[in-house]
């Protein structure tokens, strides 16, 4: 195929192609994450969730998107029109731009920057302006308070999350997303197991950065109605939502790449072969998973009450069979194709696992108050992250100098030290709270 494309634009072709695919698919993906969220929430709250539009509400995101598209777009009379219009666009653009450097697989990446990770952090830190300016431009007190909270929260938790990432970076020795994953393959362990504390700090920081519960103060619906989005309606509002969910995928991707081995499958260095063939045993797992889902769909299709629901359920099953076929076919294709497809599967699976934990946390915990949130960030997470960086750095140097090779040993040592530090900080915090008079808290 390469000879069809003039050489001057050849390096850009695949990048542009991937870009188009991501921009086209992401809104759909975000819509379905919303559906998953509602379904998971319903499951945890002893109810069914959306059931009316399509079987098990499968078409609900499309219906919602259509509804939001045709709704009236209201601009408050005294709003700052220019900023009010552009703020949601900014929010969504920045979220999408960050995908430029995310490797969904060894080949599926728009650009492998040598400062890839920093690029993603920089772009997603600009997404805050969408929230802050939108909240200010609405000319409403609720929006303004939401924007103020958002600004303060983001600045403090970005620091903590960034310091959490540093510990993994030191292990990888590179800022390029691809090389970070490669380093995990070479060392034979996901960094989440080597620096669990760093992973934890990044996890908490990323919940706060994406404004998800229990850190959803900028949009706390019981306090600030909808925070910075209070005055927004229709499609502009939907853009904010799209931005939020796209950001969730971004932080999930960062966590996956740095801590969960990116596109590597579990036990990536285990090369046991399926008996009698040249296929690796663990590579058939994705196909089996899809077949399982397909079987479940076919089984429940019979029990759907309406004809159309049966049809859609069968269609879902068929889709899963096709995906399973693709996964199987990839096993027989060239190694590059196989790595690409399976890598994308594992990457997305990990990202969705990460997002699932987000949802789980959201439906379990009450919301923090603003000062508590700040104290948690500055008095607990940031000191912990700083100590974590120092301890990890020291262990790396020790490993290099003393030939202390086994990574898990270092992991255990750092974790024990970090738990000690965390306990100390928690104790400090407790005493601090008790020494304060009640009204001051």
């Amino acid at each position: 195929m390469n000879h069809l494309i003039p050489p001057s634009i050849q390096p850009y072709v695949f990048s542009v192609l991937y870009g188009i695919v991501i921009v086209a698919l992401l809104p759909l993906l975000a819509g379905y994450i919303v559906l998953v969220e509602r379904k998971v929430m319903a499951d945890m709250q002893a109810r069914l969730g959306p059931m009316r539009v399509g079987p098990h509400g499968l078409l609900q995101p499309i219906a919602d998107a259509l509804k939001l598209l045709i709704k009236e777009d209201i601009v408050p009379e005294k709003a700052d029109r220019f900023l009010f219009w552009w703020a949601p666009v900014l929010s969504v653009t920045m979220a999408l731009l960050a995908y430029a450097a995310i490797p969904f697989g060894p080949v599926f990446q728009i650009a492998d920057l040598n400062v890839g990770l920093l690029f993603i952090l920089a772009i997603s830190s600009m997404g805050i302006y969408g929230i802050v300016l939108g909240g200010w431009a609405s000319n409403s007190h609720y929006s303004l308070l939401g924007a103020l909270r958002s600004a303060a929260q983001l600045v403090s938790y970005e620091t903590a999350a960034g310091l959490g990432l540093v510990s993994a970076l030191m292990l990888a020795g590179s800022l390029s997303m691809k090389e970070i994953v490669q380093a995990q393959y070479d060392q034979g362990v996901w960094f989440a197991f080597v620096v669990p504390v760093g992973f934890f700090i990044y996890f908490v920081g990323s919940i706060a950065e994406t404004n998800r519960a229990p850190f959803d103060l900028p949009e706390a619906e019981s306090e600030l109605v909808a925070g910075y989005m209070t005055e927004y309606s229709g499609f502009r509002w939907a853009l904010y939502f799209l931005g939020e969910y796209a950001n969730m995928v971004v932080v999930g991707s960062i966590a996956t790449t740095l801590f969960l081995g990116g596109w590597l499958r579990p036990f990536a260095r285990n090369h046991d072969l399926l008996w009698g063939t040249s296929i690796e045993l663990l590579d058939i797992v994705p196909a089996l998973l899809f077949l399982g889902v397909a079987a479940y769909s076919f089984w429940t299709a019979r029990r759907q009450p309406v004809q159309i629901q049966k049809l859609v359920m069968v269609a879902v099953g068929a889709l899963c069979v096709v995906l399973a076929a693709v996964m199987t076919a990839a096993l027989f294709a060239s190694p590059a194709v196989m790595q690409g497809i399976h890598g994308a599967f594992w990457f997305l699976a990990k990202v969705f696992g990460y997002i699932y934990v987000f949802l789980w946390v959201r439906f379990t915990f009450p919301r923090y108050r603003f000062d508590q949130l700040m104290r948690l960030g500055w008095h607990f997470l940031i000191p912990l992250a700083l100590v974590n960086v120092i301890v990890v750095g020291v262990t790396i140097v020790l490993q290099q100098n003393w030939e202390w090779r086994h990574p898990m040993l270092a992991a255990v040592a750092t974790t024990v030290i970090m738990l000690g530090v965390a306990a100390f900080l928690a104790q400090e915090e407790k005493q601090h709270q008790e020494s304060m008079p009640a009204a001051e808290r």
């Binding site: 700052d80 900023l83 600045v155």
Partner: protein
């Protein structure tokens, strides 16, 4: 291509700077300051200094400007709308501007030979490492002095804020 990008970013930066000074609404000024900073970051990128590009965005746009905007939003805007924006000292100002421009020009003119760009060094793929090595080996002392200065400033700010409680 490179020069087109350079002029695009330069014009953007200068125009944003001018707009930033002339806007009445302080939030709009902040927005234009952000675009000016982003355009500067663009120039860094055009010079293939990815690390500087990214750090410019993270620190200035993502950190410092967020705090600026945060403070601006707390302040009552109506007051600033009615303040006189410029004092009437155009004559003195233009002389000063002229002197400054001449100074810069002379500096460039005298140092024109030392400003030669070394393309080979800039094109190195891993200039992140180069920045790190320069900071922590060759310029270790200035770097540490700068960080201690910042620390002192930070402590000073905290102490002053505490006293006013």
């Amino acid at each position: 291509m490179n020069s087109v990008l350079f002029y695009f970013f330069s014009v953007l930066a200068v125009a944003s700077g001018v707009l930033m000074v002339t806007r009445r609404n302080i939030v709009h000024s902040a927005v234009f300051l952000i675009t000016a900073l982003l355009a500067t970051a663009g120039i860094f990128l055009q010079l293939q200094a990815e690390f500087l590009f990214v750090v410019q965005i993270i620190l200035y746009v993502g950190g410092i400007m967020v705090l600026f905007v945060f403070v601006i939003m707390l302040v009552n805007l109506d007051v600033s709308l009615h303040l006189m924006q410029f004092n009437r000292q155009k004559f003195v100002a233009s002389i000063l501007a002229f002197v400054l421009a001449a100074q810069v020009f002379v500096a460039f003119w005298l140092g024109r030979n030392s400003l030669s760009v070394q393309p080979a060094r800039l094109m190195e793929p891993k200039n992140t490492e180069a920045v790190g090595q320069a900071l922590f080996q060759r310029y270790m002392l200035p770097f540490e002095i700068a960080s201690i200065l910042l620390l002192v400033a930070m402590i000073g700010a905290v102490v002053m804020a505490k006293r006013r409680v």
